[in-house]
Amino acid sequence: MPGRLQQRLRARFDAWVRRRTPRSLPVRFDRHRIYVLPTRFGAFFAILLLTMGVGALNYNNNPALLLCLLLAGAAVASLLHAQLQLTGLEIHAIGAEPVAAGTPLQLRVHARAPAGRARRGLRVDCGAASGVLSLDGGAGEAVLSLPTSRRGWLAPERLRISTTRPLGLARAWAYAWAEMPLLVYPAPEAGSPPLPQGRGDGQHSRLDPAGDDVHHLRDWRRGDSRRAVAWKASARRDALLVREFEQPLGADVLLEWSALSALAHEDRIRRLAGWIDAAEREARRYSLLLPDHAALGPGTGPAHRHACLRVLALMPGEADGTR
């Protein structure tokens, strides 16, 4: 059962590594935390050199032996070189913009190192995702595309920074655990029904986009549509003026958990997330009412959206005994 054995060895190794590596960023790699092992090509190369060496010794052929030893020397030097690519490297932060579940999360890994050594093409692995880290002027970042499947906190797996440079004979690698959970928003429902009508007396009908309720005039800016130009006013003032419409003020939308009792738990969350995005698209103010949580809003804009989605993302699951 080589597979099982390999798995157990790997688990053993992981546990050992885990004890030796600090649990949170920043992590600075010194030589005690860098592991170097030959790659498969390195093993092939070693066998090649061994064959050469035995042949050269057998024939007592010194140029052949010297060639073999020179190659071996270069290989050992490349091993040291690979390790030095990582020594002194510091992974100081990771970060990611939250995304909806199902879309890949762009994880940024920030690294820095003392200047003076070129460190290029380091590979950063996190689970199945990988990215390339190159340091320019002592700092650099790698972007990894982590797949997401469910809302809530996403604890990234350990980061593995590795390199097989310069000759591809040995891989030097080090681990960093980023104890920084990343947030994944719920996936918005696709094709959700229109927003529920707002209530209360602050209700207005929506303005015609080309309405004549001009709020004020301003100078023309690049990118303004020709239709928005107030030609008559412009002619009077001898400069291009543009009508600016008053922000249309829709009714406040109330997004209520309890109003969606017909749906399953996760579907409710997805619908609410979809509505939040819809409300943002339509630039309407919205409030979010959730059980066991203070009401959010009314409000609009990215900050409000993030606050609402965050609460939704962190809603306990159905099994956690929610109504």
Binding site: G73, A74, L84, G121, D125, G168
Partner: protein
Amino acid sequence: MARVDPQPLSPAARAWSLAAGAACLLPLLPQLPAPVAIGSVAMALAIGTLSWWRPLPGWLRMLLALALVAAVLSMFGFALGRDVACALLAVMLAFKPGELVTLRDARSLVGFALFAPFSTFLLDQGPLSLLLGLVGATLALVALLQLSEEESGDAAPIRPWRRVSTVLRLVAIGLPLALVAFWLFPRIGSPLWGVPERVLARPGLSDEMTPGEWLDLMNDDRPALRVSFFGTVPSTSQMYWRGPVLMDYDGRSWTRSRWLSDLPVPATTRGPVAWDYEVEVEPTERRTLVALELPLAVPVGARVAWDHVLQSDVPLGRVTRWRMRASPPSTFEPQLPALFRQNALRLPEGYNPRTVALARQWRREVGAENDVAVVDRAMRMIRNEFGYTLSTPLPGRHAADEFLFDWKQGFCEHFSSAFVILMRAAGIPSRVVTGYVGGDRNPIGDYWIVRNEDAHAWAEVWLDGRGWVRVDPTAAVAPERIYDTIDDRTDGGGFGGLPGVTPMLDLGDWLRRGWNDLVLGFDAARQLAILRPIGLDRTGARGLVGLFGACAVLALGWMLWLTARAERSGDPVVRAWRRLGARYARFGLAREAHEPAQQWARRVAAARPADAEALLALSARFAKWRYAPRIDADDPRPLIRDLRRYRPA
């Protein structure tokens, strides 16, 4: 976390891998039989072009590979050995571009390509092979470097020269370890498996001489031997390096009798002089060793044959060194056994009737006992009537007759062959001896070089009471050809017209000899010789391993230091500036990596007003040099000097 999908090759990486493969194959080609070499090149070109355009399908590759192996094996008659293995390697390497699709293919191509210079060295250790082999290996490492860059996903465009310099630095850093291993790694005294003789012929003395067919050796000015004398040095006219003694004549060729080789070595008495010397023999793939006159002691690894010629136990496939003692014989086999005598008088029937008739006539004239008079008569004739030339027509059936009576000119083979035929016909036991004569002294290393062109053939006649006596009819005609050094020969013409060329050539050969001495001729015995003074010998194998381990660890430490140090800023101004910043560490004011120059200077100035003026001025100069637009090419040297000189009090 291994990458599952095969990574395709970029055109640049493919080109470099192919170039590395070609460069590795190049030194091997001249060592192979011509059909194999030409076939390999043609196939490499064809397959390289074809597969660039479109990779060959698997079944076709398999079929082609099998066909190639079969072709090469049948060409060598299905005999496995070093030559066959090398030919197979060359053919397979030429075929390998056919499956160059992924990164992995490229790596395996480069890996296998590295075997080519290696096997070249097994066949030939000449300077050209060594140079080409090293170039090939370097290019292979460069290709590996590029492949690794590609694999890492950051293949920023780099100038090829930068890659080469990176590889050279890696090799240089690995050099101490390699050298330690080279000199201290335990050597194998005797090979684990057989050392087959080479199929390809190389110039060198053979056990056969056919007058007129020896010319390529005489035009080859490559060294055959290098000799250092300890103590007495013989004069050039005494430097006869005896090689194979040829007894049998079939009317066309002289050959060394094989059936005599089991006979005991006949008794001789030695002369008063003894020459003590060491000879370094260039590889010939033959077993014959040449020695001055009579070897006094048989070196280890050789034995002496019936003709007092040394035979090595193994073919001389690499540079070997032999410590010898020799002296001229005072009597050389005074008692000639009947078997030898009979053999030394035998002539084939029906050849050279005019020569035989002349010899019989002489014998009648001088009487039955007077051998010396016959020899003198022959020498007088040759001295008076003959000339030396290297351009002779091809001989017919009666070669000696044509030479003695028609052409009256030729070179050593003609002279010695005709002379021995004359002697035998006159009833004097005689034989042809081949070897080298003379040599050139290299004043730089104080040693003698004997070249292939110094190859020579002379005669030995057996005289009652004295034994075998050397007679050199060629020397009677053209002594300058035999005894003069290259300097004498080229005086006024050739290289002699250009002053300084001869010392250059001497220096070149001296370097070559140093390389031979340090590298090519290094073996278990020599390793022992350098280890003995520090108290280690063969019995102390554990000590050797320990010493090797200790030195390897030291070399590794040195490598580590070199590697860590190697990558610092290449700009001397920046380096000087950094060192200046580091000098403030003891005041707790060292410059932080992120701190701009001026800002740091102001921080120091605030803390240490005494330094303020000088430091602010220096930092301003540094900032200006580093960041201001460069209009004229400033000389940075004064700035570097000032930065280096500055010391905070």
